[in-house]
Symmetry: D2
Subunit: 426 residues, 4 copies
């Protein structure tokens, strides 16, 4: 009783002072105060399991102890906090470590750009550079792709509600069908190439093709590795730059550090953000093949390119990639999630459930209007944070921290099953 009042009054602050644009707080109407690993607590002390992981920004869980320690000590010692793109020790350390841990072992020699600390910013920088390098204007993206909310990134994003928010027509992008968009039989790479090779197709040679290997916001659509490889082949054949947007699906979400590693490709530009700082701190990288690093100094910039506390935790986070342990764990836990979803779909046919995803980027498409939303709401009441995605919010997403223990995973599954039952009135 008291609690409810307090919660209500705490929600009032946001209702009174914050813009109507706020959104997640409407699904999760509490005030969170603390978090650790795969758990959060609200001001009432209620505990929540996190199957959301900051939309992919908290791959290593909340407030990871080793990173936390480094962060506090950096701050305590008056390390540089803000540096634009000046040289700092924290940045040098990160660059060296990133090269050592990530690039070198994968035989990659990308130049690292700090484009401003958000996903949309790395995408904007990638688009600019691809246009500069090729002298072309068009960029091909895919149905249900999501790349960001600033005008350039929005132009290659599929969601019509988000696009409409621009308030102006969006230009210089063409949307092509993603893998399996037209069913399993239609080869969408062939379709894409038909448009490129036909001088009368109405689609000119693009500067770049941009894609996510698994579309998170678009409904947990995982492209086959072979499809991805064939898109790279198309890029090579036509001299088009391949941009992989690994903002959400990189940093191990599907197993390997880069989501595209199993496809055997070498993108020309890679976009990273979300979990790159490891601690949920704003940070982003644009990785560029040296031969395309044609930027003039300062041609793209931004005030928070040099967010050093994030560099500190990012450097520490790379320790996870010293060996294959995390990767193997992700794959294993991903299979556990996959099995759970498969069984759930079979057990509750009224769900009209379709398990989707790869690694720990999983979800269930429920082909019943509004059902996925209801399940997420029921789960939240029961102490699980989980959100929907897809063009009609038809998918509930299972995207826990990669470091989640199997026990918490199981507790989450139980809550989901309870919620499903409740929604189906069983």
């Amino acid at each position: 009783m008291q609690a409810t009042k307090k919660v209500a009054s705490s929600m009032k602050v946001f209702e009174e002072f914050e813009s109507e644009v706020r959104s997640y707080i409407r699904s999760f109407p509490v005030t969170f105060v603390k978090s650790q690993g795969s758990k959060l607590w609200d001001e009432e002390g209620k505990e929540y399991i996190d199957f959301f992981a900051g939309a992919g920004a908290l791959n290593y869980g909340h407030n990871h102890p080793a990173m936390k320690e480094k962060l506090i000590s950096y701050i305590a010692e008056d390390g540089i906090t803000h540096s634009l793109d000046m040289g700092t020790k924290a940045k040098a350390d990160f660059l060296i470590r990133f090269n050592e841990m990530i690039l070198k072992p994968r035989d990659l020699d990308y130049k690292v750009m700090f484009p401003g600390p958000t996903g949309t910013n790395t995408v904007e920088s990638a688009l600019k550079l691809a246009r500069k390098v090729t002298g072309r204007d068009l960029v091909i993206s895919f149905t249900n792709g999501f790349h960001g909310m600033t005008l350039g990134a929005l132009s290659v994003t599929g969601n019509s509600f988000k696009r409409h928010g621009a308030g102006v027509p969006l230009h210089n992008g063409v949307s092509m069908p993603f893998d399996k968009y037209l069913g399993d039989e239609v080869d969408t790479v062939e379709y894409l190439e038909r448009f490129l090779e036909d001088n009368g197709s109405g689609v000119s040679l693009p500067a770049a093709i941009i894609l996510e290997t698994v579309q998170g916001e678009g409904g947990i659509n995982a492209a086959d590795y072979e499809w991805i490889k064939r898109v790279e082949d198309v890029c090579r054949r036509w001299d088009i730059l391949l941009i992989i947007d690994d903002v959400q699906v990189g940093c191990g979400r599907t197993g390997p550090f880069f989501s595209f590693e199993p496809a055997g490709i070498k993108p020309d530009i890679v976009c990273l953000s979300k979990s790159i700082s490891g601690y949920g701190l704003p940070m982003a990288l644009t990785l560029i093949k040296p031969e395309y690093d044609e930027w003039s100094p300062g041609e793209h910039n931004g005030t928070f390119r040099g967010h050093n506390p994030a560099f500190v935790t990012a450097t520490e986070a790379l320790s996870f990639w010293e060996n294959d342990n995390l990767k193997n764990e992700i794959i294993k836990k991903g299979e556990i999630v996959g099995e759970f979803l498969t069984i759930l779909a079979e057990k509750y046919p009224e769900l009209k459930g379709e398990p989707r995803g790869r690694g720990l980027m999983r979800g269930m498409a429920c082909h019943v209007d509004g059902l996925a939303d209801k399940i997420c709401a029921a789960a939240f009441e029961r102490g699980l944070i989980m959100e929907t995605s897809g063009p009609n919010s038809e998918v509930f997403k299972i995207m826990p921290p990669l470091t989640i223990d199997v026990n918490s995973l199981q507790r989450g599954f139980d809550i989901i099953e309870d919620s499903v039952k409740a929604c189906l009135n069983k």
Copy 2:
């Protein structure tokens, strides 16, 4: 000798691993390791006075002790780090405090939007909203305005080098002459209104007019308050939204918290970022008149909207605004800087110097090709961090932390004068 080698080797990290886009590090080729208040130290232990203040992101100086304490304790206690736009205590506290300290005393009732933690993101959100509210597409900006590097913000930015970087033509913006752009005699508001009232002018009714009251990147051009007021009048007359981009010049840079206060206007939308977190942490706000808060939930979003450590320091930073002390100090120190520049210009006529600016946003336009750049380089050698601005980098900027002590200010002046002498071979 040893030192030089070490520096050189430290620079190699950036040369080897970082993209060619890096820029400030070319002017300040050292590796910084520590900072406090108005000072930084490089890895050699050399001390630098900061007349740059993170391009306006460090108004309260580096690593302010009170904020630092709150920040460390928040992190230590596992406060929520990353929350998208969910409710957190850190956010609620900030909202309450911001209302109490800033909005209420100024009789403002803005709704607060967290648009993603960078200046360009708040500008993009402001442009979207103005277009949505009005149903119009055009936005008027001003010559030498700077609003950001993502495609929407770039469309209303004047700098041709930055614009060209887009790689595609930029649309839906019209550039009008800023105050005194055509000399003191030509009334540029009249000019603007002539275009609006004439049905044949080729400029349609815009959704919004966006401006900085003092243009930082554009060359420290301070608009008269009367001019600003008259632009607001134009907006009211034509039902155009007025967006004040206070990203660089807000948070006290010219004296009052909002740079536009002395003009007696009430903008429809205000963009804040840079120093709003107080500690140099990524954070941004878009302030919106309640009647224009027509967002649908989630219509604009972003992963790092909920950067709670920044909320913590931001809340603490607002203590500076409990009374008028800081404001008065800024004005006083601003006058000291102004006098210094005036005397310098008189004493060294070869500078062809023209003092510019307001509050602690000052600078000297040197009407000699390349001279301002040389002075900054000489100053850096002597331990002062200072950068140029203006379309031809013709202005050296004096933009120290607002909290700088007069002694450091004076030391900075001495270095500047020495540098000027050196550059003029005196």
Copy 3:
């Protein structure tokens, strides 16, 4: 000998004075002086059979006697020549006659707009109106569609060479696969609708869909009537305007006056030009369903909307549509052409020939690089005017005046076969 010299000297005029943009004259390097019915003569007196018909602007042949008589007498009597969109008797007569002969018998009640006397102008007016009526910006066109060379029409045209000529990126159009574009198995209407119904497809609800029922410039691609009907169904379902560009394929080219009649559809807007004047005089119409005639007076205009001599011949030309004779004749002659092409393809397999088209809009795709061009050149030498089309000029087109006599048709066939033999070295 003499002749050649004279020809050469006559070509010099064009080389010396005319822009490099000239094009047909390069394929047909002579100076024509006279024409009648299906024949032209050059200054040497050489006769040519016309399988080109002014790219569809001369459906009733050159200088049709009845029209010629009316035209001369109108001019002789000082009838109004130029009238912008003032009222003239010639225009009133045309409007009445067009209603009587064309609209009423087909149960159509289109309002008639005179948009300026060219095909691109009617398309531009149609696009404007569709955008105004729906408040949307996007227009969907099809691969290998051709709609004109001014910026709006070019935006919905597929040809990359022509698009590139714009010199700026083209906006607000999306290109979808035409009927059979992906082979006979892939249902391209389903594909189109998939994009419309998916909120995440990256293609927003368009103002209009524009199409030619048979694509002339695009390579003589005839859409099945059922496909056309299904596109109309899509338009109805999604409240999209259907624009049929009948500029080239209307006025009987495939049999009926409007090419879309057999599909059983009622387009919202129809574009007519080329043969509408009947005499090759510049004229164009935009037909608009009354409920969509939302123009403000003068919102689209142009100096030559009121080209009265064209109205005079256009009125006379409508006599052809008093009964079904012409239509039946076209269909019959079309079949003759079709048979000829089929036999030719079989007889000369080296042609890799694929007969295409409908009515008297026919052609043969030769899947051998450059062959179609060679055949046209050989035919020209032998006294036949014929051009290629398709994205790689791979189709030779048979598009004689609809009124051609079977004898001339046969003579044309003979020339084609001779030319084919010559090109194949037989």
Copy 4:
């Protein structure tokens, strides 16, 4: 009584069958049947003096006898009517004669392009070419400029009603203040150049500057020749192409054949249409300096590029330029019109009249809301055809055929004065 009924019924045809877009017919609600020289007659036999001249398309008057004779005989002899851009004798004759009569005597060596037979088409071709030649996208036009209604030309047109008709935002154009736009004191060329030379102005280096020397639709605004010359100087300094749109004001409207001759400039591209055929027949030319004739064959095309009857009359029309007689006559008659307007303004101060214009492109701006429209309506009742222009239709235009006799001119003046009196209730 009878007459009124008949007129009404004749108007019904247009009301019933024609689109709402019709416009002049609303000002002149009669059906015209005949015209000759400076006169028209409606179906009632009522005579009208023409102070409109087909909006500049009838500079040599209606149905000029010599051209009429040539035209009829060409048609009678089955001369080629329609030829796309094939070679015809009519075209060769025109090219030779145009070179002889117009280009050579003025020491010009333009290449002649036939871009489709309307003003907007020549403008579209000019914009394309300028963008191709320079590789830039922006085109600068001027306030109250009018260049056409297709999307490219509309983008450089000032009128907001027309622009709005596009239904999409218009891009790649910037509108600069025309001569005297900001009063006599402000030097608008200086203003323009300030934007070009400032790297931060928000206006990038344009491909071209396009202008009319006297703005017809925009309100009869005549630029000083010195201003025009200075704009050319700016173009030369910055390597920008200068496009003169002489569609309305060329072919002698202000005296010389090209309106810009007295300014002593050599535009890079000249657009001609309207009166170039001499007879009101659709025709247009784009004149291009040889060094910029970088078109690929067919890169811009159109069905009615080869409108030979227009070439025939155009060739004959050039006879007017064998000597300076017409030019001198125009200037003299222009002065007569000018004097009439000056006296009228003085005599009727309630008109708040401001005479404007040059040559026979004249008009009176009446600074009383709606007055100019009323005067035109009253004049029409009295047998004079005259229209308004300017962003608020505030100017009544005097633009008779250049060949009008002084007697008819005087009769027109009398009607105007009567109409003024009637409107002012005198």
